[in-house]
């Protein structure tokens, strides 16, 4: 009877482990360093920060192509979870200074339009269309969801417009707060209705 009959699982595992041992710690470290170096060069970098503003704390994120996210999220983890999962995240307020400057001017009532590079590459074509269209609403004015739907040539898509605005990654800069329900009520807002009202007041909009 051979010693190789009736061997149990654990015995096979043990023999196989001896026959095919793990690589050395140096080899593993070398491979890890190589993968990490590749990742740093291949992955997009996103810089982010938490920023206290007159309307409350905001999270900002930007990449090489421009501003990616302005978020009212309360938790840092929830905010970071919204960003491209492949990207390398770096907390760096310094890099975000130009974006902060224009936003600060806006909160001070000294600016009502932005000239900032925006990265909309992760959005669908429909979202892009809706969000660039609302960029044409002047400060101080409000449109209804239906008006936006009509402006993009899809008069029946008011609900889809509402959804696209609800997932606006760049509130304030892309002024989804200037879109309200056709009965004059405020509709919804990611930052909450008090902030929507406050932004509209800041811009001098006449609300019912």
């Amino acid at each position: 009877m051979s010693q190789y009959h009736d061997r149990d699982e654990a015995r096979w595992a043990e023999d196989l482990r001896r026959s095919l041992p793990a690589p050395s710690a140096e080899a593993a470290a070398q491979s890890r360093a190589r993968v990490n170096a590749w990742f740093e060069s291949a992955a997009p970098t996103i810089v982010w920060q938490r920023w206290s503003t007159p309307i409350g704390p905001l999270f900002l994120a930007a990449g090489g192509e421009g501003l990616i996210r302005i978020s009212y999220q309360e938790s840092q983890a929830a905010f970071l979870a919204e960003l491209d999962r492949r990207a390398r995240l770096v907390e760096d307020p310094e890099v975000l200074a130009p974006y902060r400057r224009q936003l600060a001017d806006y909160f001070a009532g000294e600016r009502d339009r932005f000239s900032l590079p925006l990265d909309l590459s992760r959005l669908t074509d429909f979202q892009k269309r809706v969000l660039t269209t609302i960029g044409r609403i002047p400060a101080g004015a409000v449109w209804s969801y239906r008006q936006v739907a009509e402006a993009i040539g899809k008069p029946k898509a008011a609900r889809a417009v509402g959804q696209a605005l609800g997932s606006n990654p760049l509130p304030i800069v892309l002024p989804c707060h200037r879109v309200i329900a056709s009965d004059g009520s405020l509709g919804g807002y990611a930052g909450g209705l008090p902030i929507k009202r406050r932004l509209l007041k800041l811009e001098g909009a006449q609300l019912i």
Binding site: L16, L20, Q30, F39, R86
Partner: protein, 175 residues
């Protein structure tokens, strides 16, 4: 969108994926398993990166990485021709067992090398199944996900693989 960040995926799973591909490299015909394991590990994470947006939330990302690693190993061997390691070459690159007596050492080394070669002679899917189960410690649902087959088929591949290893060892012993 996947529910893990890619950098966390590297952090959590690089070492075991590298270990897995190193074990594939040890059973291949290549002359430099360390370099081969590194190349395959790099290729695995590159492919994972490109496919990462399609990884569904809640899916087993560890098994998903193993699936990509297995496919990388497979396509590498397909290109190079998967010739089982020649016994002499295998002995040369076998690490030292420092604790045992010299004579025992030679016997152990010979037997370990025979097992390695027997593993290399299995059909690819059985080699993968046996390696995932007994060397990498994956459970059957994860093996099934990694090999893109049912759990029953994963079990059958481990079972058949071990059966063939046993037959092959007995045959060699008789010779």
């Amino acid at each position: 969108m996947p529910d893990i960040r890619f950098e966390d995926l590297i952090e959590a799973h690089h070492d075991e994926i590298h270990r897995y591909l190193w074990r594939w490299a040890l059973t291949s015909s290549g002359s430099d398993p360390e370099a081969d394991a590194q190349d395959l590990t790099q290729e695995t994470f590159l492919r994972a990166f490109n496919a990462f947006d399609h990884l569904r939330p809640g899916s087993n990302h560890r098994a998903w990485l193993y699936k990509i690693a297995t496919n990388c190993a497979r396509s590498a061997w397909r290109k190079a021709g998967r010739v089982p390691t020649a016994p002499e070459a295998a002995i040369e690159r076998f690490p030292e067992h420092s604790a045992s007596a010299p004579e025992q050492h030679v016997v152990d080394r010979g037997r370990d090398m025979i097992l390695r070669q027997a593993l290399a002679e299995l059909p690819v899917k059985q080699q993968a199944a046996v390696t995932l189960r007994h060397l990498q410690g994956l459970d059957y649902p994860a093996i099934a996900a990694a090999l893109e087959c049912s759990e029953d088929s994963a079990r059958a591949n481990v079972y058949q693989g071990i059966k063939k290893l046993r037959q092959s060892l007995v045959r060699r012993e008789e010779v």
